[in-house]
């Protein structure tokens, strides 16, 4: 397959993820959408790695996965902390950093 197809799929998933980040109010779902965007990037990386015959892209993709895992851990930890303090789990309500 031409690489172009893979890249278009990647772009599509990325934009869907971006739209989700902007539209949803539940921080959990926002994190999920961020995962979508990361995955889209992974797809692009692996695609280019295949085209060039170079393993570097795949390694990069693995590292991205590691980072995504870490970020998810922290993000979920935050949400659990929020839940514990009985704060609303809604990004529109959490706006102390305004002004």
């Amino acid at each position: 397959m031409h690489l172009t197809w893979y890249l278009i799929v990647s772009a599509l998933i990325f934009c869907i993820g971006a739209g989700g980040v902007l539209t949803r109010r539940n921080p959990l779902v926002i994190l999920l959408c961020i995962e979508l965007m990361l995955n889209a990037a992974n797809l692009a990386l692996v695609g280019f790695s295949r085209v060039h015959g170079n393993m570097d892209g795949q390694i990069f993709a693995l590292i991205v996965m590691v980072v995504a895992a870490c970020e998810v851990a922290i993000g979920l930890g935050l949400i659990v902390a929020l839940f514990r303090r009985r704060l609303p789990i809604d990004v529109d309500e959490l706006r102390e950093l305004q002004g």
Partner: protein, 669 residues
């Protein structure tokens, strides 16, 4: 020890004295007086050493520069800390340190009992250091530094009794006028430096013929600005108004600063810069004319003032007018000669005046002094000696020096003859006002204080008062002390006055025309590059005529004063009413103070008030401060609206940023 070492020692001793006294000011008693006097005595000894060493050098190479360290030497600039040791500076060093030593000795006794005794000697030593720095400077930078220090020292000492408002006002007035002169000096230096490229004196003087044409515009401007500086320091018209007010300072200060040394700095400046002035004769002529004007104006005012110290102050102004006139007309040795003799007899006159004022318990009003002749014989003797020297009565020193200046002016020819004739007129007036002062204070029926003194009891006022305004004061720090010292009872004062009296009598021997030529020869290496100095000499007949006329004028003046104030005391009052308008002009000091007030002080005040209220409020606070902060406030208020606190809003902005970035790169590709 070499010449250079002596040169540096002359500077080091007064500075060390000032610092030592300043650091140990808590020590009481008269120790600081002795320390200060010792410092200056050592400085004088070093000056003598320098003099001796200078004479060892051959005649042509008697201009030695000793470099201390290089302050800012780059291309286009050569500012070093260096001193110039040549006959002129050694001469000035001797005069300054010698007279200062005697005045210090006088002050050891005179200022006794004053709560600020140590402070006085620290300031006095600092002043001597600054004056010596000024005369020893080998470049414009050090000259300006010394000039400024001397002005500062003058301020410290005029406002010495700092709780007296008249004293502090006088100090400020002196300082402001001096600063105006400083501006002239610095600007003049710049004008000259612009062309000469060097701040060093000898280099500048050597290249004056090459760098400047005759009467070059920039050189004339530079020299006139230097003259402004000289006039401010030497109290010439129109920058003279500070000198009479400076009599608020203690009498030794008046003797040292405002008679013998600081006010002669202007004369020294003109003499030192003589190559520049000879290349720009226009500026020299300005100096001569102003000197002449000053000597006449000051003499007329001296005829009518009634404060003892102010009479002597105006006479100082007048005599410096002679000196300025002399050195501006290339009579350098004569001007310096008069500087030396004037230092002697003027310091003596001030010291004697201090003694009389002490006998009057601080009152300086001539109208209240009478008949001190029998009560204070020593002071009277010194006053007579000083007065005769000032009036130019032969064979006192003032006779020879003043006559030499006038004779040289007449010999110079063309319009300088007018200056010479006016010099004789001034001489007559000098004799009259000097002896007016002496006859009024010492002759006639003894007044109350004199009678007390004859019985061996020094008069003490009930409450110490300000001599000018009559305000009641106390005698704590910041005001004069409770004790008064007169010469008859204090040995240090007697010694100092005695030494000066002897010098005033015999000081003329160094330059008796046609007999001795010591001073002229001594100073020649300094003026070797002058094309007038060596050749300007009055002819034999002119000299004799001058001497005779001078003697006759001074005798006439003394006789007139005697008639008016001793034989027929009613005449002065009658004259005053006959010439009332003229008298009013003289008493009001020719309205110079009022003129300066109108021209400078009032507009300055108005400008200051305007700036402080309107300008500050509208422009600075409103537009500049308010405007800029308002703008920043508006801008940040606008930007702040982005901070909504909504996470998704921020994410949207992020995405927008990425999109536009991508679009930019897409378009540019």
């Amino acid at each position: 020890m070499s010449l250079q070492t002596f040169g540096w020692l002359v500077l080091a001793f007064p500075l060390a004295g000032a610092v030592l006294i300043g650091l140990t000011f808590k020590l009481g008693g008269r120790i600081h007086g002795l320390v200060g006097t010792l410092a200056i005595a050592l400085s004088f000894a070093s000056a003598i050493g320098a003099f001796v060493k200078l004479q060892d050098l051959p005649h042509e190479s008697r201009q030695v520069v000793a470099v201390g360290w290089r302050y800012a030497v780059t291309s286009g600039l050569d500012a070093k800390v260096s001193i110039l040791l040549d006959p002129l500076s050694v001469f000035m060093m001797l005069v300054v340190s010698g007279v200062s030593m005697l005045i210090h000795l006088y002050s050891v006794a005179y200022m006794g009992g004053d709560r600020g005794y140590s402070r006085f000697f620290a300031y006095l030593n600092f002043f001597v250091f600054s004056m010596l720095l000024l005369v020893e400077a080998a470049n414009f930078v050090l000259l300006i530094v010394g000039w400024a220090f001397v002005g500062a020292a003058s301020y410290f000492l005029i406002s010495f009794w700092y709780r007296r408002t008249t004293a502090t006002a006088a100090g400020i007035k002196a300082f402001v006028i001096n600063v105006a002169g400083d501006v002239g000096l610095v600007l003049g230096t710049f004008f000259i430096f612009k062309h000469s490229g060097s701040l060093d004196f000898l280099t500048t003087f050597g290249s004056v013929q090459d760098k400047f044409t005759h009467n070059d515009g920039d050189l004339v401007a530079g020299c006139v600005l230097l003259l402004v500086g000289a006039f401010a320091k030497s109290a010439q018209v129109p920058l003279h108004t500070w000198l009479p007010d400076a009599m608020e300072g203690p009498t030794p200060v008046s003797a040292l600063i405002h008679a013998a040394t600081m006010v002669t700095a202007g004369v020294y400046l003109i003499a030192r810069m003589h190559p520049l002035f000879e290349q720009a004769p226009t500026a020299a002529d300005v100096g001569a004319i102003i000197g002449c004007l000053t000597l006449l104006i000051a003499a007329t005012i001296g005829l009518v003032v009634t404060d003892l110290k102010r009479v002597i102050a105006y006479s100082t102004m007048s005599q410096i007018g002679y000196m300025v006139m002399g050195v501006s007309s290339a009579a350098y040795a004569a001007g310096m000669f008069h500087l030396m003799t004037h230092a002697f007899f003027k310091a003596l006159l001030f010291m004697a005046a201090g003694s009389v004022i002490a006998a009057m318990a601080g009152i300086q009003d001539l109208d209240r002094m009478r008949g001190f002749r029998r009560a204070m014989p020593f002071t009277f003797g010194c006053m007579i000696v000083g007065g005769l020297a000032l009036s130019g009565f032969p064979p006192f020193s003032g006779f020879f020096s003043k006559d030499e200046i006038i004779a040289l002016l007449l010999a110079r020819g063309d319009w300088h003859i007018v200056l010479g004739v006016l010099g004789y007129v001034g001489s007559l007036l000098t004799a009259i006002y000097t002896f007016r002062m002496i006859f009024r204070a010492f002759y006639g029926e003894p007044n109350e204080e004199a009678r007390e003194l004859e019985h061996g009891h020094l008069h003490h006022a009930e409450h110490p008062t300000n001599p000018m305004t009559g305000e009641i004061e106390d005698t704590d720090v910041g005001f004069p002390g409770p004790e008064h010292h007169i010469a008859e009872w204090e040995l240090p004062m007697k010694l100092a006055m005695g030494a000066l009296a002897v010098l005033a009598i015999v000081g003329g021997v160094v330059q008796i025309p046609k007999v001795t030529d010591a001073l002229h020869t001594f100073l020649e290496p300094s003026f070797a590059d002058s094309h007038i100095y060596a050749t300007l000499e009055p002819s034999g007949t002119l000299t004799w005529i001058g001497l005779i006329i001078g003697a006759a004028i001074s005798a006439t003046g003394i006789f007139i004063a005697y008639t008016l104030y001793v034989r027929r005391p009613a005449v002065p009052a009658a004259l005053r009413s006959r010439f009332a308008p003229l008298h009013r002009v003289f008493v009001n000091k020719w309205y110079f103070d009022e003129g300066i007030d109108l021209l400078f002080v009032r507009p300055g005040g108005w400008l200051g008030r305007f700036a402080a209220t309107t300008f500050e409020r509208v422009v600075v606070q409103g537009a500049l401060v308010g405007g800029s902060t308002g703008l920043v406030g508006l801008a940040s208020a606008a930007v702040r609206r982005i901070q909504t606190g909504y996470l998704r809003y921020y994410a949207a902005l992020l995405l927008l940023g990425i999109t536009s970035l991508g679009a930019y790169f897409l378009v540019s590709a």
